[in-house]
């Protein structure tokens, strides 16, 4: 299950655990959500849920001039298409 987050609001991730249940969960940060990819925000993502992968959309990261934390994978839209199809279920938080 892939969760999308388009705003820098870690509180929204509180839904992820309940919705994912026993499914593997991944997180994709888009738009202003990519601010959470910075080192200062990344801890809030890791502590919110045990995401298998945390991604940040490349254009949103570049547009904001951000340096994502080491555990965050920066991915372009072509890669995101594959990530979405691999996850099968997508939830926009």
């Amino acid at each position: 299950m892939l969760f999308l987050l388009n705003r820098p609001d870690p509180a929204a991730l509180s839904l992820a655990a309940g919705l994912a249940g026993d499914d593997d969960a991944e997180l994709l940060l888009i738009s202003d959500g990519v601010y959470l990819a910075r080192e200062s925000g990344f801890q809030s993502l890791s502590s919110a849920h045990d995401f298998g992968e945390i991604y940040a959309e490349a254009k949103a990261v570049a547009d904001r001039g951000l340096e994502p934390a080491g555990g965050c994978s920066v991915v372009d839209v072509a890669e995101i298409v594959d990530i979405i199809l691999d996850n099968d279920k997508v939830v926009n938080l």
Partner: protein
């Protein structure tokens, strides 16, 4: 080949969801997948043809170029020409007073009960942006 349905609730300028939806759709089409776009809420504004102002615009070239980056109609029209399906929610168009406005070529008037349902039952993955 998979089919992806995106239900888009955002218009062109209010946030980046519409831009992201169109870039993602373009990437999916390029990979040989099928894309459905359901335009609901402010997303329905993307469906309409532009109505250019004929008089003096009062914007310099730099401002015009900047604002052009938010205009997505041409990109949606291109996606539809490449095989994406785009349908509106006419109820949300009615609420915005745009129900009778001409659509971009290839975009169709639709609704939740028929258009979105058909998209969903024929999709491998569906999600909402906005």
């Amino acid at each position: 080949m998979a089919t992806i349905t995106i239900t888009l609730l955002s218009g062109a300028v209010e946030d980046e969801n519409a831009d992201f939806a169109l870039r993602l759709s373009q990437a999916a089409l390029a990979k040989g997948h099928k894309v459905n776009l359901f335009l609901i809420g402010n997303g329905c504004h993307l469906a309409n043809q532009e109505v250019p102002w004929e008089g003096e615009r009062g914007m310099n070239d730099a401002l015009t170029a900047f604002m052009d980056s938010f205009r997505l109609g041409g990109r949606l029209k291109e996606l539809v020409a490449q095989g994406a399906e785009a349908a509106t929610c006419h109820t949300t168009e009615y609420a915005r007073g745009t129900e009778g406005c001409p659509y971009l070529e290839g975009v169709v008037r639709g609704n939740v009960g028929t258009s979105l349902t058909r998209f969903l039952i024929n999709s491998d993955v569906a999600f909402t942006l906005g």
